[in-house]
Symmetry: C2
Subunit: 191 residues, 2 copies
């Protein structure tokens, strides 16, 4: 099959973002991650900070998911619509790598989309988030648990798919065991 789009869903600290960047570089196509956030922010009128944390921050989940919609779509529903529109538009226009933002689900009807999920053992991820993002007050293990829980809830709410279930992706890779470079290389070969 001739793939044009590679989507990468990832556990926090698994290196999914780095794998996406490496794969995009090798393939000579753009990788949308923070650039995607800028686009969504521009279209939605929200700040980049708000968009960046919408899939994992406290004001988003689970409070927003459980909130009443008696007065119409929530702020997050609005953001979801903009996000879907931006991702569908990108996929239509150019070959690219898209990291996160439920792009796998949003592009599920496209036959030219390869969907990947990157995960790793908690110990690997804990070490990595301290190296990449620095120390925080909370222990790395706790930060991982929190982020995973919120991403899974967000994903489940908007896609009705179970986060991290193999059948939702074309390929799932353990970056801790296989290595970040090897994961990027496999994805390039499949593309």
């Amino acid at each position: 099959m001739n793939h044009r789009i590679l989507t990468i869903s990832r556990e926090f600290g698994s290196g999914g973002r780095t794998i996406g960047r490496h794969a995009a570089e090798k393939l000579g196509i753009p990788c949308y991650d923070s650039e995607l956030i800028q686009k969504i922010a521009q279209e939605s009128g929200f700040s980049e900070d708000y968009v960046r944390t919408a899939d994992e921050s406290a004001h988003s989940f689970p409070a927003a998911a459980l909130a009443s919609r008696a007065f119409g779509p929530s702020v997050d529903d609005h953001l979801w619509q903009i996000q879907s529109h931006v991702i569908l538009d990108l996929a239509e226009r150019e070959s690219c790598v898209i990291v996160g933002r439920c792009a796998d689900y949003i592009l599920r009807d496209r036959a030219d989309c390869l969907t990947a999920f990157i995960h790793a053992d908690p110990a690997f991820r804990a070490k990595r988030i301290v190296e990449v993002y620095g120390e925080r007050e909370a222990a790395p293990e706790q930060r991982i648990r929190e982020k995973d829980k919120r991403r899974a809830a967000y994903h489940r709410f908007y896609t009705d798919m179970k986060w991290g279930h193999a059948k939702n992706y074309h390929i799932c890779l353990n970056s801790g065991v296989l290595g970040i470079d090897t994961c990027a290389e496999i994805l390039c070969r499949l593309f």
Copy 2:
């Protein structure tokens, strides 16, 4: 990492067995599938037919799992012990591919074991089981549902791991989308 053992767990009809055989041929190592059943039958004293269906047949699950163990281990518990022993022994002796039989779990403490899960969409699997195993009275979709349910229950009962969850494997591949040859090739490269 230098892998010596490749385990393949698979959904019924996904071609996991064929992928295992192809990978083993390319790697020049043995593939244990029906040979494994022979070994387990020899060591346990059960017939090959009994061993073959123990992870998916009606007398095994869920009835056996729910049965009282007031009088000691069940027949299936006994079979599980023999199976674990045979697989651990094989892994100790030679580099090989092992298909099914919860080998991923039984060999979980070995650093030289690469664990793969092969899955595919129901339509792909339904077409394939008719091609490979022929027509049966039950519709292929129903045969798939039945087998999946029993394998998942067996796996869950003896390993306490969720069947098909990406985090339980080093790599998960959708053989329907990626193709059986490509899956075998990726596993060989990773090995």
